[in-house]
């Protein structure tokens, strides 16, 4: 039986007494590519931020790799690689220097560090641009470098927060392929995106969130069966998403 990598139990996050994440319970197993979907303001980012220890939960438990993150943060952090939606790289550093910085902070040094830099840049196919400054890169190249910076320390859990926003189809396809490769190597992946076809292409299991709660969770087929009326009916994940969360526009202001 697969090890539980992420376990959320009764997770609550409140701002001004309003629950942004409301009694969320969830388990993600080792080797999964887990899609977290939801309209704007559903609570996805807040949930991810709590998993990454960027936010303290108001209540509830978070266990990563069997560790309670409140008590074992230093043990848990090296196991996570976070790829934020924003490009968290320095334009005035060269590609290899960006990877070096974020990898060496995990205590990796010497030959191991050099190898980690080489492998990460090769993985995102930027090895021939290693000496170029990040500010000279195209949007797609910056996204790839953004991913490389989270790979150097070889995390066991990768969290992608909308990694394909604003890039061309080729770059998007490349990133999705690389996520599959990471997963094939045994890395567990949590993936959020508003592009349903991406989620459909790479995720093994999906949770749909709305108003801080999970409204549905399961494999893609299990979710489609929720709204399928005829066994032969072709259902897309987008149809499931719109049926479960509604078609009303979601405007929200960040807390």
């Amino acid at each position: 039986m697969s090890e539980t990598v992420v376990k959320l139990d009764g997770l609550i996050k409140k701002y001004d007494n309003k629950a942004v994440v409301d009694s969320l319970s969830l388990e993600i197993k080792e080797g999964e590519v887990f899609g977290l979907l939801g309209p704007n303001g559903a609570g996805k980012s807040t949930t991810m931020n709590m998993i990454c220890s960027l936010l303290k939960p108001t209540a509830g438990e978070i266990e990563l790799f069997g560790y309670d993150i409140r008590k074992n943060l230093s043990k848990v952090k090296p196991l996570i690689g976070y790829i934020p939606q924003d490009l968290a790289i320095y334009g005035n550093l060269k590609a290899w220097e960006n990877v070096e910085l974020f990898t060496s902070l995990y205590g990796i040094k010497g030959k191991e560090l050099k190898n980690a830099i080489d492998e990460s840049l090769k993985f995102v196919e930027l090895e021939d641009k290693r000496n170029a400054f990040a500010k000279t890169f195209s949007g797609g190249m910056k996204r790839r470098l953004n991913i490389a910076c989270a790979l150097g320390h070889k995390p066991k859990l990768l969290i992608f927060d909308e990694p394909t926003v604003g890039i061309d189809p080729q770059s998007r396809n490349f990133i999705l392929e690389r996520i599959k490769d990471c997963n094939a190597d045994g890395t567990t992946v949590i993936y959020t995106s508003h592009y349903m076809e991406e989620v459909e292409a790479i995720c093994t299991r999906v949770a749909i969130m709305d108003n801080g709660k999970i409204v549905a969770c399961g494999t893609k087929e299990e979710l489609k069966n929720l709204i399928r009326k005829d066994p032969d009916e072709e259902i897309t994940l987008e149809q499931v998403f719109l049926t479960l969360t509604g078609k009303k526009l979601r405007d929200f202001v960040e807390a």
Binding site: L55, K77, Y90, N92, L93, E97, L101, F102, L105
Partner: protein
């Protein structure tokens, strides 16, 4: 500690790749030094001349000093001290009205000196001369001797020396500007999120910034002082190791002071504006733009500025080799470091949550 060094190294790379900032700082300091030392040279030279003073006297006909009257007037005149003879004068009124800085009334067997608190040094010189006159009349000395005037008066710095020292110190006080681009990039690109999820806590990042800023500022100072200013103006720093120590303390204090603004405000323009305003006033009171020796501000107001203590210590070390302001300066700088670093760490810790 190794993580702080990793971050410091990274920030140093980023700072040195923003070459415009470094060049502006070095050239800016040199231009300001050249401009203000030239502009204020006249003022300082005039002040130097003002050390000459005038002595009024009244000699009674039956005074025993009558026989040395010509030696008295000629001796003083030789030292560029103006001598004025009065008869039936009101000494207090003459000194009060400024007709003479010191007045001597020669009586039958003695003399009376009238001076003012403001001219205490001049009065003491005259007193010494009169003592010397007595000795001469008693046959102890043959010649009319004057005290070495440089001994009782405070030595003064040249305008080049003074403004080189205080402008280097002033430009160093805004050294946190080197971090401006780093704060801007990290906020714009949300890099802090990556640091937070990684293994670099807020104290690590804070000290990385502080150390990189201090190291850069030091290198800039060395370039300015040793490489350029000393060649151009022959600037004399008294007791180099002590001066370097003061500059180090001041650099850490000012860097941490500037960082409070950068940590506190999300907006770089607001941070820079407020920091510059605060440091401009500190520099203004401390003698960075006008010599503190001839400043119109009261001593109590000037003492509110940390720049004042640093300037006084460095300038006095330069001209005298010692300074009474050294200990207060070290105290003020240490206090500033403790307060600003504590504030900076508290603010960064408070921002831990996104």
């Amino acid at each position: 500690m190794s993580k702080i060094w990793i971050i410091t190294k990274n920030y140093l790379k980023l700072i040195f790749r923003t070459k415009a900032m470094l060049i502006i700082t070095i050239l800016g300091t040199l231009l300001v030094v050249a401009a203000v030392s030239s502009a204020f040279r006249t003022l300082l030279d005039k002040a130097e001349q003002e050390t000459d003073f005038s002595v009024g006297y009244e000699m009674q006909d039956d005074s025993k000093y009558k026989i040395v009257e010509s030696a008295w007037t000629e001796g003083l005149a030789k030292e560029n001290i103006t001598v004025k003879n009065f008869s039936k004068a009101d000494p207090e009124k003459i000194v009060k009205d400024g007709e003479a800085d010191v007045f001597v009334v020669f009586g039958k067997d003695g003399y009376r000196i009238v001076g003012s608190d403001k001219k205490e040094m001049d009065t003491r010189i005259v007193q010494y001369v009169l003592y010397n006159m007595d000795m001469m009349m008693n046959g102890s000395v043959n010649q009319f001797a004057f005290p070495e005037r440089s001994l009782p008066t405070e030595p003064r710095s040249t305008s080049e020396n003074y403004y080189s020292i205080v402008e280097i110190e002033y430009f160093m006080s805004i050294c946190s500007i080197f971090l401006c681009m780093i704060y801007y990039t990290e906020r714009k690109n949300n890099i802090l999120t990556r640091f937070r999820t990684g293994s670099a806590g807020s104290p690590t990042r804070y000290f990385g910034k502080l150390f990189s800023c201090v190291l850069t500022s030091w290198l800039v100072q060395v370039l300015i002082m040793v490489g350029l200013v000393s060649l151009l103006f022959d600037v004399q720093f008294g007791k180099p190791m002590v001066s370097i120590g003061i500059l180090l303390l001041a650099t850490v204090a000012y860097a941490s002071f500037g960082m409070v603004f950068f940590e506190l405000f999300e907006n770089s323009a607001v941070s820079i504006g407020l920091m510059f305003t605060a440091l401009w006033f500190a520099g203004y009171l401390g003698g960075s733009f006008e010599s503190y020796m001839y400043s119109s501000f009261s001593e109590n107001i000037k003492r509110l500025s940390p720049t004042y203590y640093v300037n006084r210590s460095l300038v006095e070390l330069s001209v005298k080799g010692s300074s009474d302001y050294l200990l207060p300066c070290v105290g003020v700088m240490l206090l500033m470091i403790v307060v600003c670093v504590s504030l900076g760490l508290i603010i960064t810790a408070k921002k831990k949550e996104v």
